[in-house]
């Protein structure tokens, strides 16, 4: 089976100053991008990921670095599976964290539960934005946050 399309960002940034480098890493983490090699980053291609990489490429150029954008297919299905499961494992860990925190929040007082609910809903939304290969942990995290919401609703009733 031929793999899907990926958008790749190949870049090089000067060592100093470190601010653009840190800003880039933060952004890549928010986007859930996979690092293939030092200076080579990938995401499944769609109009959003491609656009976000284009903005990043511009910022690398403005910081005095080099950057090019490529659209590519993995050479083998196995290669794509390995990359996808690595990305999946990263978001799965984030979802497990949400499950844990939602569980812990349920035993707290109502006000605390309400605040935790707002925070975990936002966190869940952020994780889903960077989740390209949803793992089973997604459903568990959604269920855990829903259970917390119900416990807040019951307390309010």
């Amino acid at each position: 089976m031929p793999g899907g399309e990926w958008v790749l960002l190949a870049y090089r940034l000067p060592r100093e100053p470190s601010t653009p480098r840190i800003a880039l890493w933060r952004r890549l983490r928010q986007l859930g991008a996979a690092q293939l090699l030092d200076g080579l980053i990938g995401l499944p291609a769609d109009s959003r990921t491609r656009e976000q990489f284009e903005w990043l490429a511009d910022e690398v150029l403005e910081a005095g670095g080099e950057a090019t954008i490529w659209v590519a297919r993995p050479g083998s299905a196995g290669q794509e599976r390995a990359l996808a499961s690595r990305m999946q494992a990263a978001v799965a860990a984030d979802y497990r964290e949400v499950v844990e925190q939602a569980g812990a929040a349920r035993s707290g007082p109502t006000g605390q539960r309400k605040r935790a609910l707002g925070r975990l809903r936002r966190e869940l939304r952020r994780i889903r934005r960077r989740d390209y290969f949803p793992p089973p942990e997604l459903e568990r995290a959604v269920a855990a946050v829903e259970a917390l919401a119900e416990s807040v609703g019951r307390a309010a009733a």
Binding site: R27, Q52, W55, E59
Partner: protein
């Protein structure tokens, strides 16, 4: 004046087009291109790679317009925070309206052509401006 941007406008490009028409150039004409090389010489490009009125330093194009044209209206900056989060979703600002705006504009661009998306979205930004202006004056959410 002629203004050019990428086709398939979502929140940042529609907000920029609204800003251009309301605050910079009431006679503006918009062109949509698929590649930066297609921008005609007499058109000002925005929200495209390699141009001034685009993303810089982690800011979106709408913010670039506010800087460039020195629009220091606090209501416009309140809109900018929403557009920024809807477009980049990087958590720089607290803008709970952003995900809703993002979905509305993405959905609109699925069922309408580029010109029509600009036309239909302009009253939304007019309304957002009015709402945020009242909120700023009142210091709380208007009824």
């Amino acid at each position: 004046m002629r203004w050019a941007t990428r086709s398939g406008p979502h929140v940042d490009r529609t907000a920029c087009a609204w800003l251009i028409r309301r605050f910079i150039d009431p006679e503006s004409e918009f062109l949509f291109v698929d590649d930066p090389d297609e921008v005609p010489a007499d058109a000002t490009a925005f929200d495209m790679r390699g141009v001034e009125l685009s993303h810089h330093g982690g800011e979106c194009s709408f913010e670039a317009f506010l800087h460039r044209y020195e629009l220091d209206d606090p209501v416009m900056w309140a809109i900018a925070r929403i557009v920024h989060e809807a477009d980049l979703d990087d958590g720089r600002y607290d803008a709970p309206e952003a995900p809703g705006f993002d979905v509305l504009l993405r959905g609109l661009s699925m069922v309408r052509g580029d010109d029509e998306v600009l036309e239909l979205s302009a009253p939304l930004y007019d309304g957002l401006y009015e709402y945020l202006k009242r909120a700023t004056l009142l210091g709380r959410e208007p009824a």
